[in-house]
């Protein structure tokens, strides 16, 4: 008999992948985009192969890569293996065909726009994305950050920073793949490895902070996800997105979190 997969299950993990390709002016090395996208493809592929789900804020640089991996690795699943969350600020510009091209393999939650101006207005953009991110964090039980736009001096809140802060507030385990650059790299200067709540040793977290070796990063994460009981225990937030009820629900008493749920305009 031959073997093509391990007897490993990541089915209890809904992994938030936070990040984006930084603007070219912020690249710290040539072809920085390549390393980040290779990480996204390999990591999301292996998570999906072993039954995990990927949750993402619909950044156009990551989304096509994640959707492709879902089609390759997890197309036969009963529940769609991806959850995408998008603010109406962007969703209102999508055609039906564009939405359909994601929702064959991904659940899509659209959150309300806050403010009456356009994407160009920093306040409307920041407030709308904060609302989007509160739903995004409720749909995941573990956060992995890689890359991320810097937004130096443009008045826009960097997404990775806000998502990691929200995940920390919610007590989710966090992993910072800083060695591939971007905002995640900057965050590693101010966050101690021991504060990430991810059950990895400081030494291994520091490897993720500094190495630009994509294979080494994915290797550390998959080995840990596959084998760590303490990580599995800490990745169980009580208040989370319930796809059956289409609301964010406290699993302890079944109460709907009306405030965060009210941010969701529609789901596909």
């Amino acid at each position: 008999m031959s073997v093509i997969r391990l007897n490993v299950s990541l089915k209890n993990y809904e992994i938030g992948l936070s990040g984006a390709i930084p603007n070219r002016a912020d690249w710290s090395e040539p072809a920085m985009d390549r390393g980040i996208l290779e990480f996204v493809a390999l990591f999301s592929g292996i998570v999906l192969k072993y039954g995990g789900r990927i949750v993402h804020g619909c950044h156009p640089t990551f989304t096509p890569v994640i959707l492709r991996q879902a089609r390759l690795q997890a197309a036969r699943r009963q529940r769609r293996p991806i959850t995408l969350v998008m603010s109406e600020l962007w969703a209102e510009t999508y055609t039906k065909e564009e939405i359909d091209s994601m929702t064959d393999i991904a659940e899509l939650l659209v959150t309300r726009k806050v403010g009456d101006k356009s994407i160009e207005d920093p306040e409307t953009r920041n407030r709308s994305l904060t609302v989007m991110r509160s739903v995004l964090i409720s749909a995941q039980n573990l956060t992995v950050a890689v890359g991320g736009m810097m937004h130096n001096g443009d008045g826009i809140v960097p997404g990775v920073a806000e998502e990691v802060a929200m995940a920390q507030e919610k007590g989710l385990p966090r992993f910072l793949v800083g060695g591939l650059g971007g905002l995640t790299r900057k965050l590693t200067d101010s966050i101690a490895p021991s504060k990430l709540g991810n059950s990895l040793s400081d030494e291994v977290n520091l490897t993720l902070f500094r190495t630009d070796n994509v294979a080494a990063c994915v290797n550390v994460l998959f080995e840990h996800l596959a084998g760590s009981e303490s990580l599995a225990k800490s990745a169980q937030p009580p208040v989370r997105w319930d796809p059956e009820q289409r609301a964010i629900v406290d699993q302890r008493d079944g109460k709907v979190d009306d405030k965060t749920s009210s941010h969701i305009l529609r789901s596909y």
């Binding site: 008999m1 031959s2 073997v3 093509i4 997969r5 391990l6 007897n7 490993v8 493809a41 390999l42 592929g45 292996i46 192969k49 991996q69 390759l72 690795q73 294979a215 994915v218 290797n219 998959f222 080995e223 596959a226 084998g227």
Partner: protein, 123 residues
């Protein structure tokens, strides 16, 4: 890639030996106790995809060199979809474990118990 695989085996207490450098065939062994000698034969593929002549050559190599406790065909590059892997396995006679190098650490961590019932018929 052989270097990554060697590093993984060695960090899990295996001795690493090159059997055929040109064909990238390797043997890893360890004796967890006096009554058990574990031997793993590995081929590290140079190709991003699983190249059919390479796996055929691995089959022939296993027949001529003798099998260990486990035979690993390790590939690199993009993670292949299960359907494609199933097709590859069906077309070959020898029993092999086909894994991406990123899956190796979890297998070694489990001391090969992660193979469990995850098998598909080939022979």
């Amino acid at each position: 890639m052989p270097f990554i695989v060697e590093k993984e085996f060695v960090s899990h207490g295996f001795a690493w030996k090159t059997i055929d450098k040109r064909l990238l065939m390797f043997e890893s062994s360890k004796n967890p106790n006096v009554r058990l000698n574990m031997k793993v034969m590995s081929h590290c593929s140079l190709f991003d995809q699983i190249y059919s002549p390479a796996i055929k050559r691995f089959d022939e190599f296993l027949k001529s060199s003798g099998r260990g406790n486990f035979s690993l065909f390790i590939y690199d590059g993009e993670l292949l979809p299960e359907q494609q892997l199933e097709e590859i396995v069906k077309s070959h006679s020898e029993d092999v474990i086909i894994l991406h190098n990123q899956e190796l650490a979890a297998l070694l961590d489990s001391n090969f118990t992660a193979l469990g019932a995850s098998v598909i018929g080939a022979s």
